[in-house]
Symmetry: C2
Subunit: 127 residues, 2 copies
């Protein structure tokens, strides 16, 4: 069955919420918290991919890690520095990043507002 | 190998382009043209999903059709009316839509600017 999640936030204030989508908060190694929304996933009946939206607070970083599954990322808010293996690049709104499986990667919020980005994974990558 | 596509457009002007991504223009049944960018796909080495960005001009519609693969949609610009089987809903920026495989669907641009949306498909759905 198809499903719509209406946006109920205010992007200009960095407030992101969608009808029927839970905001899940998780701790980061630096003791800050990030927020994860599963915009489209198994609860919607999506059989092959999952579309997640992440928010990282100012100055915070995602874990430096790697795993077998790939990422498809689109920056929607703020500024990031991404590390991919030994390479570092700065990212702004609407930049996209494809991260291959087993590539070491980390996102650092280098802006003065929360960093918001979509991250698509195959179903096996959402756990 | 991982890859970054830097955004080179101007969202406020409805100009969308990315470094290393082709803008492909196609005709619609109403003789208008839509633009498709493959933001992440097989050219990037993405093994399981494809992230596309579509722009539909004012007053235009995507084909009313169905197919075996699912869609994961996020509206990024403008206003749409989406038909899913016998249901019609209006969509605005940041609304998401999951369209199941074999559900009849169509997007109509009901705003006064181009309609821009992401559409994620499994690799089998990009042809």
């Amino acid at each position: 069955m198809s499903i719509i999640h209406k946006f109920e936030g205010k992007t200009e204030k960095g407030e992101y919420q969608w009808e029927g989508v839970q905001a899940n908060q998780f701790s980061l190694p630096d003791n800050s918290n990030y927020i994860k929304h599963i915009l489209i996933g198994s609860d919607d009946g999506a059989p092959t991919f999952v579309i997640r939206f992440f928010q990282l607070p100012v100055g915070s970083s995602s874990p430096l890690h790697k795993h077998p599954h790939e990422h498809g990322v689109l920056i929607l808010r703020g500024k990031a520095r991404v590390q991919i293996n030994d390479d570092f690049q700065e990212l702004s709104i609407m930049d996209t990043v494809f991260i291959s499986g087993e590539d070491l990667h980390q996102f650092v919020n280098i802006g003065n507002e929360s960093l918001g980005f979509l991250c698509v994974v195959p179903k096996s990558g959402e756990y």
